[in-house]
Symmetry: D2
């Protein structure tokens, strides 16, 4: 069940990087939704390798097929299997490393957990596993947009020590994000990031980065205290993405340095509903959305696979010098953008569906404004 996520809109993913295919089963998708492969493919295209010179050369078309759960172009309410075949399988690339656990990769921990591991390509810990999340997230986003007008936009806000500036989360569009291959909407920063990544690829090194995300038009009331608080499930969702090391919402770690009088978001009458003057909280209070945009940031480490030689030991404990071969990204954040959006969508759709019964089954008291 650890490859499953969600309660009412529940996904179960499968697939290693070098088996026959990867994908996801979605259980609980509302029926009657017009859905074709063309609705899902664009997000997979944003995620797939080989999009630009910045990413790995592994050339996968990553074409999705809807195996079940729709008929005549509409969902049936039954489980939807979305599958992507693995075409470009080159296990040989990794053969030399079979006896050496790559530093900061999951070879060692998979071996310790399962007693075996996929012989190549990182198996289930590979970023390829995220195809299932992205495909399911694409379906979730369609539902959220059509039923709530909710939209989700993520972007690269940092690569190494280069930070974007001047980005307006209230107005940012996916098109603006995708204008640069690095997916940073600040053109100046984007160009510097691009050059840094290109240099590091050349140098055989890698670099980390930060993906920021905004969720707009969120109705108040989503999130389930105590352990399914909205920020708690977002945090789980983001830390489940490979290579992530941190999550913060609203002011995040900066909030730890603030006074209450600075941090608090006073309420204001926003034309018939209660809103807040500021949004230091990032759209959530007490685990429940307050109607303001949800804003969070996710830290990604530099990819562990680098070409620079590393002094390490093999599984037997013998010292070796490792210099990775094979295809790899020097920086994951451009491709992480659609993954962050997808995971956010999966959290939001589940919370939205879970809130639904309360609308008709509760004895409503007085409401705000």
């Amino acid at each position: 069940m650890s490859s499953s996520f969600g309660t009412l809109f529940r996904i179960s993913t499968f697939g290693e990087s070098h088996c026959k295919g990867v994908g996801v089963v979605i259980d609980g998708c509302p029926a009657g939704l017009p859905l074709g492969e063309e609705d899902i493919q664009p997000q997979l295209d944003r995620r797939r390798p080989g999009q630009s010179s910045l990413t790995t050369d592994r050339a996968e078309a990553d074409r999705v097929t809807i195996i079940s759960g729709t008929e005549n172009g509409r969902t049936l309410g039954t489980p939807i299997l979305l599958e992507v075949a693995n075409r470009d399988q080159r296990p040989g690339d990794y053969g030399a490393m079979a006896d050496i656990p790559r530093p900061s990769h999951a070879d060692f921990t998979y071996q310790m957990k399962y007693g075996v591991r996929a012989s190549s390509g990182g198996g289930r810990s590979s970023a390829r596993e995220t195809i299932g999340s992205v495909a399911a997230g694409a379906v979730a986003r369609i539902l959220l947009r059509q039923k709530l007008g909710l939209d989700i936009v993520a972007w690269v806000s940092s690569v190494g020590t280069i930070d974007a500036s001047g980005v307006d989360p209230a107005a940012l569009t996916e098109a603006e994000v995708d204008r640069s291959p690095i997916r940073c909407p600040d053109p100046g920063a984007a160009e510097r990031m691009r050059r840094l990544v290109a240099d590091l690829k050349q140098a055989g090194d890698s670099v980390g980065g930060i993906v920021s995300c905004v969720i707009r038009n969120v109705p108040p009331g989503l999130g389930e205290p105590t352990y399914d608080k909205l920020e708690a499930r977002l945090a789980q969702a983001m830390l489940a993405i490979p290579a992530t090391k941190g999550f913060e919402i609203g002011a995040g770690f900066a909030a730890a340095r603030m006074r209450g009088s600075q941090h608090n978001d006073p309420f204001v009458n926003k034309g018939g509903r209660l809103g807040t003057v500021t949004n230091t909280s990032g759209g959530i209070q007490g685990g429940i959305s307050n109607g303001e945009p949800i804003l969070f940031r996710v830290a990604f480490k530099p990819p562990a696979t680098i070409a620079l030689p590393q002094q390490t030991v093999d599984f037997a404990g013998n010292p070796v010098i490792l210099a990775a071969e094979g295809r790899h990204d020097p920086c994951v954040v451009p491709r992480a953008v659609p993954i962050v959006e997808a995971m956010a969508a999966l959290v939001m759709i589940d919370m939205a569906l879970r809130q639904e019964y309360r609308k008709t089954w509760q004895w409503s008291g007085e409401q705000g404004v």
Copy 2:
């Protein structure tokens, strides 16, 4: 189910700040464990209000009672109900605020979600709700210590802009943490933090802070890819604590600014087992523990309840000036230390129990070293 956490060691908490009691049911605790109220009480004492002049004056003894699940001082393997009566109920304190949603508190969002809210004291969003987590976490810690030798120590590493330094996570003890009421093991920083909090209490303001945590003697192999990665469940657990705004593991957000050649943790032969030279990863790779200490940090915002007057609006949208009465903490991090430890313990015990079947049901391949 949103007040439940865990799969095999599963807890379900209950209780508002002003009802008859708060607590937790633990389902799945192994049988035969010697367990009395005296084993649980110390952690509740570390969490309760009124411990020092730094915390709220609400005087609760917070005595725990084991209602079910043990006999003759040992667990039966059946659900354990741990209950703490609410004695010091003063709903009147909050009466004046009934029509005003307190800024950055959960009054508004609870109202929007449930159509009603506890009239006073924050209800379920109150820090009082964490009693259940702390009580259950105390049981989890005993199991982890006795069966794995695993221990967990959290401490205050920052209050506002004051940062602790010189803390050694490999050696730090609970006694050292508890030496100062602020629970910061750096004596110089602790004294400056104490003075800051006292000043802010006087001034009617509040301040945020950071709690750091180390988990030692973790066996490799714990954590369940994909969505139950160890860091993902830790992130969920921490962001489920009231007032948290961020989580980072290992180098965390700093990792986003690093190169792979700096960040990677090469392996080394540590006397018959594979360890890592550095521990930038914070003890986890690919969602699974690698045997090194797990290190993470949690950001807490400044408490929303402040005595300074705030310009806001009431539920009807009318402008009002709010100056909070009632008891409140100017800084939550000292009392958050046992909560962070408890949530960490709840994650670890569940992961440890979930891994157990693999030891006997897997066909073991070759192991490291």
Copy 3:
């Protein structure tokens, strides 16, 4: 988690027969519901021992207390703890049997599973554990009645070889069921059953029986294929009641002997909605309610605790003659009636809440009639 049941309306029960208390946490109950202890107590009174000469003499008042989750007589939407203190604790009654696993009781299996067992009274396997189910079920029934007009009536249809006849499930009321202490609405059968049970009590023996149940005014569309089919969850719920040995819905085992042409329920226009001419199916098709009354039956074995001497062995394998002391029921079905109703209510409320999101999130196609 094995003491929990349900997805959106989720209960977690606790308590052995001789600890401080037993009860339940309800998580997910809609907010604003008027709820007091007096709404729950009547069903506990129908379940408690000592109601009549037919049942065990154990004299428990079984008074329920609402510990959390309500304020000013209404639910808050937060976890509701319902607790019943254990007053009449007489562990000594069972002392002589500590070393002897009682035949067809759970002493042996609890010992094998947990390595320990409650020293007396059956611990968690005691019928006393059902208090939590009945209390939670009482809340579920109120919701179902008020929001859907749904009602649930169970009755004793057999005791030993005595079968009730002439009972009309379409019209039967709880008052009619409770008219006789045996809870059989056929007065002639009830009197014969009463005499049989009294005779067996005298003789130190026990007898089994069948509880039938009808659920009326069920909206079509409840039940979640594949594994949460309505009949599948009802079956689980009923077989989770102590002493049950069978479940059948509609024609049940008799259906196995029928032809399709006899068994099928043709549709008919029932004034603007599709209904069925017959109801051999018992109100469910393909795991989903069809709007007709749901009808099922539950088989209960004779209580295992009998006063007649039994040749068996002790835990060490030594032959012994066992003659049970202590209080026990010669027949459980009269007290099982409210338990069956409660478990049915818990299944129905969860299915009703789980269906709710579909009403607003689906693109409705054409509907029947």
Copy 4:
């Protein structure tokens, strides 16, 4: 999540009868298990249509493909996707019935639940959905056999009013069951059943039946009170199979007519372990296996699809005469045998894995014998 089953060995099924494929994802299968398609195929062959003249003529090869979760013929511990392509799609067969809900089929209830339905072949309510259960169950059986020596044999014990006799559950083998196409090991009864089914096929009618099942070599201690009692999960699993109407364990409904002195199973020393003299209980007490064979029976209704004309109404409420075309089985029990075994295996593997942590984490007290 309603198409998922199990906690540690968790399956999620997908697929309608006329989409591209059907199958299952298994999450939690222990790693290192030798597993190929040839290990799974035989059980699918026992389930598939067109095996004999007794079953539907739909000719599906039902070849299973392992898409993920294995490498070099061994499981990786990661999700295993088992997929069967749908080849023989003939939606046209059902075209005439699109506007008519077939009596006692799920057309009407799916329409009411989802607002749409698969236009043909029963969609998700079709017996074709059970392919996923059978495939996953085949893997579970291999694990149970290799690690526990546990085996599971089901057989047809009744068709209509014809009952098998002389079957010995302690010795029965799969080969003996499969000797007749009706899967009844009593040759005389088998021949009479075969003739009855052939006659009914000719007559355009159908008939119900009973499948019995024995699980042998079950270790004591499996099953999770309260709501996951072993018999409760078996009941859920069996009632989740299409066309089932009843479940009974041990003496089942006959137990309701017995005295305690008849029904009780006294203990006896069976060479170093406690066993029972009789096994009226069917191998389970208090929800936990006692080490004796588990015996249960499942009632199947006659298939709803019959060729005989039926007076019913269409979705608009207009009277129509329906005479089904298309392929259908006159009796499902022969093909239900492997489905019952598979569902039993899925229950047992999950219970076995869930018990595992107790062996190392419990403080063992004294054990039996």
